[in-house]
């Protein structure tokens, strides 16, 4: 299995590339069609956040292994403005873009694991994982 694969996100078409990469890798790993859709959609949302809020960044996808399970991990990182109040963006319905994205709570619901690290003026890194069932 390939190691980490990354897509630079700088424009709207890169969102599609990141999405396609997620679709291909999740299919390759044997995820169900529903989980493939969840992973692809989560990647699309995170890539859009990068494009909308940070301007540029990257989405890296890699297969991961735990003791008794395997899955797919996605890291979306940027060196944008960062998030002021993480608690706030994790509330359903919070938006600064007028509702263009579904927001991070939606992404969290799509995945099994979700963690976020953000510093104002330094950037944001979001790590999400889906485990094979």
């Amino acid at each position: 299995m390939a190691a980490q694969t990354c897509v630079d996100v700088r424009n709207e078409w890169d969102i599609v590339s990141a999405r396609q990469l997620g679709r291909d890798l999740s299919k390759e790993l044997g995820f169900s069609s529903v989980d493939q859709a969840r992973i692809t959609t989560a990647i699309s949302e995170l890539a859009r956040n990068i494009y909308l809020y940070a301007g540029k960044g990257k989405v890296c996808i890699e297969p991961v292994k735990d003791v008794n399970r395997s899955g797919l991990q996605i890291i979306a990182s940027d060196t944008g403005p960062g998030i002021q109040d993480i608690r706030k963006v994790m509330q359903d319905g919070f938006t600064t873009s007028g509702g263009l994205g579904a927001g991070l709570p939606g992404v969290k619901r799509l995945m099994d694991e979700f963690s976020i690290n953000s510093s104002v003026d330094i950037g944001t890194e979001i790590l999400i994982t889906k485990w094979l069932r």
């Binding site: 999405r19 529903v34 359903d92 263009l100």
Partner: protein, 118 residues
């Protein structure tokens, strides 16, 4: 890239069969409204059978085009939403309010016919 819009009597039929990037989605909105204007179509079916993922942006563009078409006097039905798409939309928390849907193209056309006869 452009999504083809077919005319069938007083209906317009669209089957989305390509990866939707933002530009293609927005272009489709404009193309559909122009086509409604040019043909005087009263009903529209947008079929999503071949679409395997709908993110919040695409959902918004599709929801908006339904409202825009309604403003012009045309009714729109969305058909063929696949199980994984329905599941992820609800997971994401996206509610497509006031968007008429049907299982497939056939039932979509029936639904339009009923609505237009009233």
């Amino acid at each position: 890239m452009r999504i083809p819009i077919l005319k069938l009597h007083e209906y317009l039929l669209i089957s989305i069969q390509m990866e939707l990037d933002d530009m293609t989605a927005l272009q489709f909105q404009e193309d559909l409204l122009n086509k409604i204007h040019d043909t005087g179509a009263r009903g529209v079916v947008i079929d999503l059978t071949s679409v395997d993922m709908v993110d919040s942006f695409i959902a918004k563009v599709l929801g908006d085009v339904v409202k825009m078409s309604n403003l012009m006097g045309a009714k729109v039905v969305m058909t063929g939403i696949q199980p994984p798409v329905a599941i992820t939309l609800i997971d994401l928390g996206i509610v497509m309010r006031d968007v008429p849907t049907a299982l497939d193209l056939e039932q979509g056309l029936d639904k339009l016919q009923q609505e237009l006869e009233v």
